[in-house]
């Protein structure tokens, strides 16, 4: 089977400093790939390269065989197939929850309003927030905002979802409500790439774990093996840093 996403020899620099070095990876339909690694290893940058938020110096990102390139003409079209959720949720503060969710389907995909609203409400229902639809982002907790951000990405019917440390800015008691939503999406068979620091969650949700260190993929493994008996010594050291 042809993979959904294929990354070939990706090279990324910031001001001459190499952040990602010859990174290659494929993701198949329905697969959940979790990316872990120490802070500053380049894992978030990697995710941002995948939907063209960052310019890349070398290599290729292919979605369904089509090149994702931040300067190409069809980037806006291609990007709609990729949903992304950020650490800082970034809901639009001047719009209600419902308006936040239906803005892109209406403006970008030109869908009609009733249809967008009804899908928005059923998605909100699913994450337990349909009663908040007319409130503004500032009236919601961090965990609630992040669940709305996930809904905002889902309504675009993306082929692949990217999660960039979606729980890193949350209070501990709110982490679970967000992770449960992500986990339920995984069970549904969605294709996802997740950058996270929550190791227990990574283990539970992943089909495959990718360990990045120093801008390179150091280890790719099944979650069982990675977390119990990693192949590389650097991965072992990384995992040890979570133990007291």
């Amino acid at each position: 089977m042809e993979p959904i996403l294929r990354v070939e020899h990706l090279h990324k620099e910031f001001d001459g400093y190499t952040v990602l070095d010859d990174v290659s990876l494929t993701v198949n339909a329905g697969e959940v790939v979790v990316i872990v690694g120490p802070s500053g290893c380049g894992k978030s940058t990697f995710l941002r390269c995948l939907n063209g938020l960052e310019k890349i110096e070398d290599g290729k990102v292919l979605l369904d065989g089509k090149v994702i390139n931040p300067v190409s003409e069809n980037i806006v079209k291609e990007r709609q197939k990729i949903g992304m959720v950020f650490q800082s949720y970034d809901l639009f503060p001047h719009k209600t929850i419902l308006q936040n969710i239906i803005l892109a389907p209406m403006k970008v995909q030109k869908r009609n309003k009733e249809e967008a609203v009804s899908e928005a409400i059923s998605l909100l229902d699913r994450v337990g927030l349909s009663n908040k639809k007319d409130q503004y982002p500032r009236q919601l907790s961090g965990g609630q905002k992040q669940r709305v951000a996930i809904v905002r990405a889902l309504i675009m019917h993306p082929e692949i979802l990217l999660f960039d440390e979606v729980t890193a800015a949350l209070d501990p008691e709110m982490v679970r409500e967000v992770l449960e939503v992500v986990l339920s999406l995984a069970k549904e068979g969605r294709t996802m790439m997740i950058v996270t620091h929550e190791m227990a969650f990574a283990r539970a949700v992943a089909d495959r774990v990718v360990f990045i260190d120093g801008g390179r993929i150091v280890e790719e493994n099944t979650p069982e093996e990675f977390f119990t008996d990693p192949v590389t010594e650097r991965a072992q050291r990384f995992l040890d840093s979570f133990k007291y």
Partner: protein
């Protein structure tokens, strides 16, 4: 206090008041137009135009309106550009105000976090859609207190129009004091009319600022 004098001067002040308001608000409208256009040019870093706008802002923010008016009203006719006193007031106020409005609106635009643009990009919006649907509405709200402060500032600046013989409130007061020596009465009327002109705007400004600062808006 001589109330007879006050009631006889009153109609003159009313006339001057409306002239001041008219020129003031047309000038402010012009300054907002310049402000929006200029901020847009700077925000999108449009080459050449950006440099021109920057030079203009520096020049007009660092010189007094009175000097600008003298140059436009007395100086420009000597090189063949004669402008009526009224238009001169409007243009002067518009140019001065424009330089302040550009800064106010631009800072509103810049206050919108980059991550807002990024998440809109990730949702597939085009550049134009992001500007109109995401950046602009937030910038308008964020820049509002500064814009209101500029409006108050510009309304106050209208008080120098008398220097180019516009029959505004200042001119009327000065004229009447010179003619009849009813200094106290003339000054009281002057203050009253400026209060009527500025207090409502000032109150609106405070209201807007409170509303924005205390939570009716925010992430």
């Amino acid at each position: 206090m001589d109330f007879e004098a006050i009631s006889s001067y009153f109609p003159l002040y009313v006339e001057a008041f409306f002239l001041t308001i008219k020129i003031g608000w047309i000038g402010i409208a012009l300054s907002l137009g310049i402000g929006i256009a200029g901020a847009f040019v700077l925000h999108f870093k449009i080459p050449v135009f950006s440099a021109v706008i920057k030079a203009y802002v520096e020049l007009f923010r660092n010189t007094p309106l009175l000097v600008q008016l003298f140059f436009i009203y007395f100086g420009l006719p000597k090189v063949g550009l004669a402008i009526s006193a009224q238009n001169c007031g409007i243009i002067g106020l518009g140019l001065l105000g424009g330089s302040y409005m550009i800064e106010a609106i631009r800072s509103g635009l810049e206050a919108v976090p980059v991550s807002q643009t990024e998440s809109a990009v990730a949702l597939g919006f085009t550049r134009r859609q992001i500007f109109t649907n995401v950046i602009l509405p937030q910038a308008v709200i964020g820049g509002m207190p500064a814009v209101m402060a500029n409006i108050i500032f510009l309304l106050k600046e209208t008080s120098v129009f008398s220097a180019i013989s516009l029959m505004d409130l200042m001119f009327t007061a000065k004229d009447l004091i010179g003619l009849y020596y009813d200094t106290t009465e003339c000054l009281v009327l002057l203050v009253l009319f400026y209060i009527v002109m500025l207090l409502p705007v000032s109150a609106l400004g405070s209201f807007v600022e409170k509303k924005i600062r205390y939570g009716s808006y925010g992430v």
